[in-house]
C-alpha cells in the first residue's frame, strides 16, 4: 500500500546510490570527472499510489534525477531497490520501461526535424503499436494535449509550450500506468506551465495513473497541490502534503494597527514581555512573526488592554520559496542548532509537527514551566485555524 492508502505503483525502498570514481587506468578514457565517491542517494524510501501525484523537490544535487534515472533503468542503485508496477527496475527493466511514460525537461529529446505525428509514430512503434490503431491513438492523444492542429508541424516550428505538450503526448501515447516528469515545464512560460500542470493533474486523475514530477518552480508545486517529497543531499527531508509543510514551517507575520503611536508602543511592550520575539513597531502599527501554535486569540488575549485602540489586524504569509530555503538551511539531523525545524531523517523523513510547535511557542503560552503538551497545542491550533 502506498502512503496514501492506494495500491503502490512505485515502491522505492532504502535506495542508495554512490557514484564511484572509475579505476585509475580508466580515467583517461571515461568522461567523468568524479575523483571521490559521490553519495547521490542515501536510504531513500517512498511509495506512490494509484491516482497520486508526488512532487519531488530539492536543490541541485539533492538526488531527484538519480532517483528518476534508477526508476527508468538508466542507472543502477548501489543498495536498496525500486520497483514499478511490481517490476524490479533493474532486473525487469524492459517491463518497467513499458509501464512508464517519461517526459524529460529538455525538449531536445524530441526528433526536432520531424513532424509531431512522426515523433509519436516513432515512439508508438518502439512501444509495440502499429497500423491504423496507432494512427487513431496518435490522433486521440494529440487532441488530449491540444496539438491536433499542429500534427504536421515540424519540431523546430513549435513553441516551447507546444514542445512540452508534444513531450507529454509522447509520454501518454502508450497508455502507461506511471508518469515520470523531470522538470516538464523547464522551458515554458508561466502561463503555459500552469496550463500544462493543470492538464497533467486532470489526466492523472482521469486515468488513475501514478505520477512523479520534479520541478524547481515552486508556484507549480503549489498548483499541483499534491504530496511533496523534499530531497536534500540524497535524503528525504519531508514527505507529506504541501499545505501541511506550510502549516508546520511557515511563520506568518501579524500586523496590528492602532489609533495612536502610544497605543502601538504599549502593545509592542506587552508582546515583548509575553515572550514574543522580533516585535517591531512602525508608526501606528506593530509587526511580529506569529509562531506556530500561537493563535490570533492568544495574541488578542495578551493585548486585551489595547483592543479598543486597534484599527486592523492582518496576517501575511511568507513565499513558499522562503519557507523551503529555511528548511534546507537547517541541520538535516534535526539538532537544536539547526533552527526551528524538527525535521527528522529516516522514516520517510516526515517532519515532526508537534516538536516544532512546542519549541516555537512563546514561553508563557506553553503552560506550566513550558512543558510540552502536544494535545493542548494541537487543540489550540484547531481552534484557531
Amino acid at each position: 500500500m502506498s502512503s496514501t492508502g492506494g495500491y503502490a505503483r512505485i515502491v522505492v525502498d532504502e535506495l542508495t546510490k554512490v557514484y564511484e570514481p572509475s579505476p585509475l587506468w580508466m580515467r583517461a578514457l571515461v568522461r567523468t570527472n568524479i575523483k571521490e565517491p559521490v553519495h547521490a542517494l542515501n536510504g531513500v524510501s517512498f511509495t506512490v499510489g494509484t491516482g497520486e501525484i508526488v512532487a519531488v523537490v530539492g536543490p541541485n544535487g539533492a538526488g531527484k534525477t538519480t532517483t528518476f534515472k534508477i526508476l527508468v533503468g538508466l542507472t543502477t542503485p548501489t543498495a536498496g531497490s525500486a520497483s514499478v508496477m511490481g517490476f524490479d527496475s533493474i532486473r525487469e527493466s524492459v517491463e518497467v520501461r513499458r509501464s512508464i511514460g517519461w517526459m524529460p525537461g529538455d525538449h531536445r529529446s524530441l526528433l526536432m526535424r520531424h513532424s509531431v505525428i512522426e515523433n509519436l509514430r516513432f515512439h508508438g512503434r518502439l512501444q509495440g503499436m502499429s497500423g491504423q490503431p496507432l494512427i487513431r491513438k496518435i490522433r486521440e492523444t494529440l487532441e488530449m494535449v491540444g496539438l491536433e492542429r499542429r500534427a504536421r508541424s515540424n519540431g523546430f516550428s513549435l513553441s516551447a509550450g507546444m514542445l512540452a505538450r508534444l513531450q507529454l503526448a509522447r509520454a501518454l501515447l502508450h497508455d502507461p500506468e506511471i508518469l515520470i516528469l523531470d522538470e516538464p515545464t523547464g522551458a515554458v512560460d508561466p502561463v503555459a506551465a500552469h496550463d500544462l500542470i493543470q492538464l497533467i493533474k486532470e489526466i492523472v486523475a482521469e486515468r488513475g495513473m501514478a505520477a512523479l514530477i520534479s520541478s524547481h518552480r515552486l508556484e507549480e508545486i503549489e498548483t499541483l497541490d499534491s504530496r511533496v517529497l523534499l530531497l536534500d543531499h540524497g535524503r528525504i527531508r519531508y514527505d507529506g502534503r504541501l499545505d501541511e509543510l506550510r502549516r508546520i514551517w511557515d511563520k506568518p507575520t501579524l500586523q496590528i494597527g492602532f489609533r495612536s503611536t502610544a497605543s502601538a508602543d504599549a502593545a509592542a511592550q506587552t508582546l515583548k514581555e509575553a515572550g514574543f520575539a522580533s516585535v517591531s513597531r512602525k508608526d501606528g502599527s506593530v509587526t511580529f512573526p506569529l509562531e506556530s501554535g500561537v493563535s490570533h486569540a492568544d495574541v488578542l488575549a495578551r493585548l486585551r488592554g489595547q483592543i479598543e485602540d486597534m484599527t486592523d489586524l492582518s496576517e501575511s504569509h511568507r513565499p513558499l520559496q522562503t519557507v523551503l530555503a529555511e528548511l534546507y538551511r537547517t541541520d538535516p539531523e534535526g539538532s537544536e542548532g539547526g533552527g526551528p525545524t524538527g525535521a527528522q531523517p529516516g522514516n520517510s523523513g516526515q517532519v515532526s509537527p508537534v516538536s516544532r510547535r512546542e519549541r516555537a511557542r512563546p514561553a508563557d503560552l506553553r503552560g506550566d514551566e513550558g512543558a510540552a503538551d502536544p494535545a493542548s497545542v494541537e487543540g489550540g491550533e484547531e481552534v484557531e485555524r
Binding site: V30, K69, T76, R97, L111, E118, G128, S130
Partner: protein, 277 residues
C-alpha cells in the same frame, strides 16, 4: 496490430526498432534532398581525377592492366566499409548532441538492437555510394566480369558485417568517452592504404603487407577485384580465402562488439553516464 502495448517478443522488438529507426532516418534524409544530392556528388567526384590518372598509369600488370577498374573497385569497397564502420559512431554522437539518446534508451526495446537499428540508413548510404561509384566507373570505361557479381555481393555483405562489427566496438568506446571517431577515422585511412584501394598491396613493403593481412578491408577490396576483374593484378586473393577470412572475422569481432557494447552499457549505467550527455 494493436493500440495497446503487448508483450513483444525479442524478434518483434528488434523488427519494430529496425523499422522505426529506418523510417525516421529516411524521412530526415528526404527533408534535405539537396544535402543528399551534394553528398552523392561528393562521393562520385573523386573518381574523375583517377580517370585521368588511369590514362597516365596505362596498363601496368601490377593493377591487372586496368587501373581504372582496379581503382573504382578499391574506392567503392572502401566507401561501403567506411559507411558501415563509422555510421553508428556518427549517429550515436549525433544523438548525444541532439539529446535524443536518453529517450531511445527508455524505450522498451533491447539495447543491443539499438546500434544496428541506428546504423541501417548509414549502411544503405554505403550501398548507394558503392553502386553509384561502380556505375560511374562503368560510364568512364571500367570493365566488370558479370560472372563474378554473385561472389562480389557475398564478399561485400561479409565486408559490411565486418564494418558493422568494428563500428560497434568503436561505438562501445564512444559511449564511455564521447569521442572515438578520430580513432576510427585514422583506422579507416590506414586500412584503405594497407588494403590497397588505390594501388596493389604487392607494392607495399613487407612489414606493411604483413599488417594488411589482418584487415578485413584487404579481403573485401582484393576479393571483389578477384571476382569482378579478369586479372586482379599482382596481389590476388582467392575467393575462398576472402570468404573464409571475412567469415571468421565477422563471427569473432561481431560477437566481441555486441558483448563489449552490452558491457559498456552496463558499466555506463552503473557509473551514471546514461542519460547524462
Amino acid at each position: 496490430m494493436s493500440t495497446r502495448k503487448t508483450q513483444m517478443s525479442t524478434r518483434q522488438a528488434v523488427v519494430a526498432t529496425a523499422t522505426a529507426f529506418f523510417r525516421v532516418d529516411v524521412i530526415e534524409e528526404a527533408n534535405y534532398p539537396i544535402s543528399f544530392a551534394m553528398r552523392l556528388l561528393g562521393v562520385v567526384a573523386p573518381l574523375i581525377p583517377f580517370f585521368f590518372i588511369s590514362k597516365l598509369v596505362g596498363n601496368s600488370p601490377e593493377v591487372g592492366g586496368d587501373y581504372l577498374t582496379f581503382t573504382v573497385i578499391g574506392l567503392a569497397m572502401t566507401a561501403l566499409l567506411t559507411a558501415a564502420m563509422v555510421g553508428f559512431g556518427n549517429t550515436l554522437q549525433q544523438s548525444f548532441q541532439r539529446g535524443t539518446m536518453e529517450t531511445f534508451l527508455i524505450e522498451p526495446v533491447p539495447w543491443t538492437a539499438i546500434p544496428l537499428a541506428m546504423n541501417q540508413w548509414q549502411v544503405m548510404n554505403g550501398l548507394i555510394y558503392t553502386v553509384l561509384l561502380m556505375g560511374a566507373g562503368w560510364v568512364l570505361g571500367a570493365h566488370y566480369q558479370l560472372g563474378g557479381v554473385g561472389a562480389a555481393i557475398l564478399i561485400a555483405l561479409l565486408g559490411i558485417t565486418a564494418g558493422l562489427a568494428i563500428g560497434i566496438v568503436s561505438a562501445a568506446v564512444l559511449l564511455l568517452t564521447l569521442k572515438s571517431t578520430p580513432v576510427i577515422r585514422i583506422y579507416d585511412i590506414a586500412a584503405s592504404l594497407l588494403a590497397g584501394s588505390l594501388f596493389s598491396v604487392a607494392q607495399l613493403p613487407g612489414w606493411a603487407q604483413a599488417l594488411s593481412v589482418v584487415l578485413p578491408h584487404t579481403y573485401v577490396i582484393n576479393g571483389v577485384r578477384t571476382a569482378l576483374m579478369a586479372d586482379p593484378g599482382s596481389y590476388e586473393i582467392s575467393l575462398t580465402r576472402a570468404v573464409v577470412s571475412l567469415g571468421v572475422f565477422d563471427v569473432v569481432v561481431f560477437a566481441f562488439g555486441i558483448w563489449l557494447w552490452r558491457r559498456t552499457l552496463e558499466y555506463s549505467r552503473k557509473i551514471g553516464l546514461l542519460g547524462g550527455y
